[in-house]
């Protein structure tokens, strides 16, 4: 075999296997309780409905369901999405929508269409690892802005934007996961959303609103989406069926101005021509039968309980220490734990695996090397019993660590 080193591209040399992926491998042993992944609970999958609809679609129109779709996506699915989102207040039509092979493809597509090597972009601290991965592979120079309980700190965001303007550079985009953020579980307040929009106009920066969990709210009132609040085409909104329907179909959609959608369509032509039409037909039929919204209500009930189980277990089993805290998300799949200073969750990871419990290290979500005191805990996939037992094991681990350090 020839020596390939000189044949690889800069992107290939830059790309690293995802830390999460490598850690997840360690957690696959059957006796380990994994609070690490981010998978939906398969008990929520509407398999009977999918079975019935798959048959229906194949009986009714297999010639087109099994054929290529257009790059933009299946017309019926697009129209169903438009109807649904219009009902929620979005001012959109079919030309604002592009079907993607789930959100990760949309992130990759945005990297491709907006980011050249060394282009500065803004991300949250912490931020979604799949977004960081996609943008890194295009060579983005990521600047992280910290969050508090109301989301990204807009005063620091302004500072970052101004600093770069002084040196006559330009942020291509601001990447936000505003609803029950992965990993932090935090929701960006409506007031801050408005301020971010103001900043995006002032500094001519696109906002990418990545919102896979928005529909999974278990309490409180949803702030309006950034896309709705802006309504001028400066926001690209990413959505997915992975958490509200099934991930195994790889279906998502982008909402953006027709101008941006056109650019994304050209990119998608080169990326995969089109998303699987069979899956799109099933999802479209599921929606047109009015099944999606009641289905989301069912999922919410399952996860609301699991969230409570995890929060209760944390209250019960975590040692009391003023620096040991966790977020209490109103929705989504994750919460974010901060360990007392002096405890490094990367170092702790091996001990956790010995205690047969796993989490994702906070550093995986930080573009700036931070996050050493954090871990992400998932409550959607493990069973209620596993959540309790997992948190118990983590609690005893923290007790040992705190005792060792005489904190």
């Amino acid at each position: 075999m020839i020596d390939l080193v000189k044949n690889y591209s800069v992107i290939a040399r830059r790309a690293k296997r995802s830390i999460i992926r490598e850690l997840l491998k360690l957690t696959e042993k059957p006796d380990i309780i994994s609070l690490a992944g981010g998978l939906p609970d398969p008990a929520t999958f509407p398999h009977e409905e999918i079975k019935e609809i798959a048959s229906f679609v194949l009986d009714k129109n297999s010639s087109s369901a099994l054929q290529y779709s257009s790059t933009e996506g299946n017309t019926k699915l697009i129209n169903e999405i438009v109807k649904w989102k219009q009902k929620e207040g979005l001012n959109i039509s079919a030309e604002n929508v592009l079907i993607t092979s789930a959100s990760q493809q949309a992130l990759d597509m945005l990297g491709r269409v907006f980011i050249d090597a060394s282009d500065p972009i803004i991300v949250e601290l912490p931020s979604y690892v799949g977004g960081l991965g996609a943008f890194t592979s295009y060579g983005a120079k990521m600047v992280g802005v910290p969050m508090d309980e109301d989301g990204v700190k807009v005063d620091l965001l302004r500072q970052s934007l101004e600093n770069l303007k002084i040196s006559e550079e330009h942020y291509k985009l601001i990447y936000l996961v505003p609803d029950f953020q992965n990993p932090a579980g935090i929701t960006l307040s409506e007031e801050r959303r408005k301020e971010v929009i103001k900043l995006s106009r002032e500094f001519e920066t696109l906002i990418v609103e990545d919102s896979p969990y928005r529909e999974l709210r278990y309490e409180g009132i949803a702030p309006k989406s950034i896309y709705e609040l802006d309504n001028t085409g400066n926001v690209v909104a990413l959505n997915t069926f992975s958490k509200i329907f099934v991930p195994g179909f790889r279906l998502g959609w982008v909402i953006a101005s027709p101008e941006i959608i056109k650019k994304l369509v050209v990119a998608k032509q080169n990326m995969d021509l089109c998303t699987a039409n069979f899956n799109q037909c099933i999802a479209a039929e599921f929606m047109s039968r009015g099944l999606l919204e009641p289905h989301i209500e069912k999922i919410k009930k399952v996860y609301e309980v699991k969230r409570k189980v995890m929060l209760d277990a944390l209250d019960t089993y975590m040692p009391k220490h003023e620096e040991l805290t966790w977020t209490k998300p109103d929705g989504g799949l994750f919460l974010w734990l901060t360990a007392p200073s002096g405890i490094d969750t990367e170092e702790l990871f091996t001990k956790a695996i010995e205690k047969k419990v796993a989490y994702i290290v906070g550093t995986a979500f930080h573009c700036d090397g931070g996050g050493h005191r954090n871990m992400r805990l998932n409550f959607s996939f493990p069973s209620q019993e596993q959540i309790v037992e997992g948190i118990k094991r983590l609690g005893s681990l923290f007790e040992d660590e705190i005792a060792d350090r005489k904190m």
Copy 2:
């Protein structure tokens, strides 16, 4: 809305909508007979089997079928592919295989992993438009090497490789569609395959063997695949279920050395995490029941007849002119027509649409601006009646053109 021009990436500014796509829109009117597309005949889709298997998969294992798959792909599907290809003589195991969201994603992935802006690569003249599109978007500098009836001319290929070596540059890869090429319908002879392999070693260049039609041979004996003949890891082979099963699942696979597969897996993590597991489960079950190979035999019978219908119609309806010729492919979906000098198929296209018949202009497949005397004709999608009537219309068009020019 902000002015986006300065926000777009170099790739986005470079990308053009595909010519084919734009032309195909013109051909969508119901009274136009389109010999332009490259779609499989939906009559060949095994919808009853898919329906039954979809139910089976959902009954048996919906929890995993509707969940995320690993990035590498569904293990059962990989194993089925390995068994099948081993039987054909390939020396591979599971670590040589990556499931992709069909071949276009594999092409994009190869661009990402091997091509930096301005990197020289070699393509055939003509070449597959989806490959040209993917590689162009990464900024590849494409050098075209002409073909004759035995495929790419290896003496000219050597010349290109040597020319570049003199200037101390390096071709990253040679992109070949060696079996019933899209668009030309030509198959690369086994002798030439061996010579190409020799050249790839001498000049340390990777070979990309894109072979979506290999299984669709209607006569003659298949030369060994380039991957099999090489057997040293210098070949990346691309395969797809689109033409031998259904395109609406978006399923394909790459066969390559484990080292390259690992690089591609990292790229795929950032591109779409994984391919739809539901579709992979159905394809795996279809294969494990032994249905794929007999199904391919059925498809071959349909297309063999259609090919004959088109070749007979060409013999019957095309005016006799020594410069008006077409290929007689042993398989695949396309043939390639060359018009007499003086006739430009781009100029002819409008007249063809007036006569209610459509084809793809040869220039779409040329990286060097050539192909003005060529057109690609598809025989898989149109009905037998449409093929005859379409060729009749084209024949009368050529008669007019030749008479006008007093050729």
